[in-house]
């Protein structure tokens, strides 16, 4: 018993230490804002309407959910209002027609919108961004038209009267707590390896796939989570209103939420709430204007909101937070203690043995690979050279599962290797870097490496990250250390906190190499690593590749620079017309 208690105590102390380490001025400011806001109902003057503030906060909750879809996943969703509506109508039906208690309807409405989000997400995340926007737009209209056409769903023109289990102040406090929790959750997810992988596939889907990022699954998770949060907000908002209104959750809400997220700053956890605050100020201005004109403010407010968005978009999609951040750029240190040597491949056997026989790939009448045979011994560096069009890149793509072969077999350590996608290949320990320079531009160098390092993550799921389980925190530390180690191997550790897009071309290629190495491959396939390198860079690159080999990785290096590859590789294969013409 005491042993268990001791362990628990140690875990709690550990968690407290981690929390203290992550705490900064931003967190203090956040807690202060929430504290002051929570006390507001007791000292606010009469002209502050707590019920309206609660309504705005529920909107901010839905907007914070949308940050995940629009900001982190980069999906142009016009469907957030639809999920808010689904949550609201589900609540109306449960409370007013089925006679459920209001507090029981909330979790069920959450589940209903989560399921709706999963079903719709399964359809839309596979689409091109353009068609994702169109299909979510149609979904929004579908929900509002169903509500209008079937009075049974929405309660018709009168609406259903929905009882609430909370008073106005109760709603306000609940909305505040939920919104604060949502912002904290999005912030935690954004910085976790799952959030980093999400942003990586947003920036460059193909490069992320070579590092084993399962794009569709991540996007679906982001979309469904957004939908569930919106449903929760809708369920509570309709209880605050007290009555269902078929027009209340239509395209205009979808639009308003998108406005909020873009005005606030799409890829920041606070973007939604800041954007909604801006919209709230606009509403206030519109009301003052209407007071002066002795007219109604209902029409002016949406017009000002639309005009504001036009201005923001005209300025180039720059939100409030990015603007503030640009004014005062703060450098966050990586805060990493020197870690012991990580990066030993699993198994630690000095790299994989590759044997490829009779690889055949036809494109129409052209044989890109015409029965290619390749062999790599464990820990060997094989150079692959040849004229343009001789099939070097196709060979690498075939080895990494990116090309479906017409014939031939690939053996890794004597076992048949039949990955049908780059993701599968990466998971099996075969990682390829792309020929084009393709880092994840908006991520820092360290985050780029984390995309690779989190490939074999076991405890990095969204729920574990949010619960901050000891296992997930320990793993996150390990992943960071592994990523940092990979940066050190390519000597980019000094630039760990720089956004990748600010690095020069060669250093971006080094960063690609670091991200690939961080994924702990047993066989690394490099497509022209020396492109754009100066003579001094070549020496650096050669040492880096030798260091990676020394860490127990076999390599196949496609190169145009013959002297470089001769100095580097144990053997060089010359390719011509899709097969190995000459062994050097």
């Amino acid at each position: 018993m005491t042993a268990v208690a001791g362990q628990t105590w140690a875990a709690v102390r550990d968690a407290a230490r981690d929390a203290r380490r992550a705490w900064g001025p931003t967190q203090t400011a956040g807690v202060c804002v929430v504290g002051v806001a929570a006390a507001l109902p007791w000292f606010a003057p009469d002209w502050v309407h707590i019920d309206e503030l609660a309504g705005w906060l529920y909107l901010a909750l839905a907007a914070t959910g949308l940050v995940v879809t629009v900001g982190l996943a980069g999906l142009p969703s016009l469907g957030q209002g639809a999920f808010m509506g689904i949550g609201a109508f589900a609540t109306g039906l449960l409370v007013a027609r089925a006679g459920w208690p209001a507090e029981a309807a909330v979790p069920l409405a959450f589940v209903v919108s989560l399921v709706a989000g999963i079903l719709a997400g399964a359809v839309v995340v596979r689409l091109a961004p353009l068609f994702l926007a169109v299909s979510t737009w149609i979904l929004t209209w579908l929900v509002v038209l169903v509500a209008l056409a079937f009075p049974g769903v929405s309660g018709g023109a009168q609406g259903y009267v929905v009882d609430s289990f909370l008073g106005t102040t109760g709603h306000y406090e609940l909305a505040l707590v939920l919104t604060a929790l949502a912002v904290a959750a999005v912030s935690a997810l954004r910085r976790s390896s799952i959030g980093i992988r999400l942003r990586a596939t947003r920036d460059r889907a193909a490069a992320a796939a070579t590092l084993g990022v399962r794009r569709d699954r991540l996007l679906l998770g982001a979309f469904a989570a957004s939908a569930a949060v919106a449903g929760l907000a809708g369920s509570l908002a309709v209880q605050l209103q007290g009555v269902t209104d078929p027009n209340a959750f239509g395209p205009s809400v979808s639009f308003k939420l998108l406005v909020a997220v873009l005005v606030g700053g799409a890829s920041y956890a606070c973007g939604g709430i800041v954007g909604v605050a801006v919209l709230g100020v606009i509403a206030l201005v519109a009301r003052l204007w209407a007071l002066l004109q002795a007219g109604s403010s209902t029409g002016v407010q949406p017009m000002l909101a639309a005009v504001l968005l036009l201005v923001v978009i005209g300025l180039g999609e720059v939100g409030v937070i990015p603007l503030l951040a640009r004014l005062r750029r703060r450098v966050i240190p990586a805060a990493l203690e020197a870690s012991p040597a990580h990066g030993r491949p699993r198994g630690g056997d000095g790299g994989a043995a590759l044997a490829a026989r009779g690889l055949l790939k036809r494109y129409g009448g052209v044989e890109a690979l015409a029965g290619l045979d390749l062999a790599v011994a464990p820990g060997e560096v094989l150079g692959l050279v040849g004229a343009n069009g001789s099939g070097k890149t196709t060979a690498l793509r075939a080895l990494a599962g990116a090309v479906a072969l017409d014939a031939g077999e690939i053996l890794i350590d004597g076992r048949r290797f039949d990955a049908t996608s780059p993701v599968q290949a990466a998971e099996a320990g075969v990682v390829r870097t792309l020929q084009r320079t393709s880092t994840f531009g908006s991520l820092t160098a360290l985050e780029n490496a984390i995309v690779g390092a989190s490939l074999h993550s076991q405890a990095g799921g969204a729920l574990r990250v949010l619960a901050a389980t000891p296992k997930s925190r320990a793993e996150a530390r390990e992943i960071r250390a592994q990523a940092f180690d990979a940066l050190r191997v390519v000597r980019l550790d000094e630039a760990a906190d720089d956004p990748a897009e600010r690095l020069d071309g060669f250093r971006q290629r080094l960063l690609m190499l670091a991200a690939a190495f961080a994924a702990r491959p047993r066989l690394l396939l490099l497509d022209e690593p020396s492109a754009g390198a100066t003579v001094a860079d070549l020496g650096h690159l050669g040492e880096t590749i030798r260091e990676i080999r020394a860490r127990g990785v076999s390599l196949v290096v496609v190169e145009h620079n013959l002297p470089f590859v001769r100095g580097l590789a144990d053997r060089v294969v010359v390719m011509a017309d899709g097969s190995a013409a000459l062994l050097d």
């Binding site: 142009p76 961004p129 149609i138 579908l142 639309a306 968005l309 036009l310 999609e317």
Partner: protein, 309 residues
Amino acid sequence: MDLTLQIVLSGLAAGSVYGLLAVGYTFVYRLTGIVHFALGDLVGLGVFVALFVTAGRGAVTQDSATSWRFAVGILVALAVVVALGAWSYFGLIQQHIARGSTVGWVAATVAIAFAIQSLLNVVFTQPAYVFPDPIPFHDAGRDGIVTVAGATFQLRSLFVIGLGIALAAIATYVTRRTRFGRGLQAIAEDVDGAQMVGVPFDRYVGLAFGLVGALAVVIAVAAAPSGPFSVTTGTLYGLKGLVAALLVGFAAPGWAFVAGLALGFVESLIASGRISGHGLGPSYREILPLAFVFLLLALRGRVRTPELE
């Protein structure tokens, strides 16, 4: 008038309008690779600018059709919507297309839509307005309906259908045969490549957006007199037109127009069709086509363009 006839007539009347908008969406998509979410609202803007010039915020009757103010109104509407169309590209959309940011231009076009809608909401407060018919179809036949050799037609729908076919033909001609259209298609396929071979990118795309504005006004003048026009009518027409264009996957302007006609007919059939006394009823009129298009998108699935490595 028997039920079948009524279904066909009302279906064709509505469908021809959807078809016009579908042609518009397809035209924009083929030329620029974007879906202009504000197209329906541009039509609404054209209608209400013309009304505003004709009679301020007051009511307009069919009698105004021959007044010079109405003619001026249509010209002003043309100028305003074309200018707005071109400005929307240079001021808002251009930078986002250049950066390849879908979120940016989607938000831009939707914001234009809502800005127009909310502006109209502030200025025009009556539930619906009459847009006078520049061509007096109502004087012909029996209240605009003529019977030729046993078949009955609504003259106005015939006119709109003719216009739709003509517009589809023009749109096809412009995209396929002119230097302008081919240049734009080259841009839509490969921006850098098109610029390299000397296609004046910004001028062409800006012009295309202006043309879209002109198209919206033509649609407005042709479609608005069909029935009472409210502030949201344009938006709804836009939605239906988008559905029709999606049905044929933005394939060709001609097919988009046919899809619009079919959509109008199906809506009318859903609303009033009866098979041995049983029918779906008007509640399903708008929902079923939307749900069908959503499923169609789901089944087509693979619309994601493969990424360059």
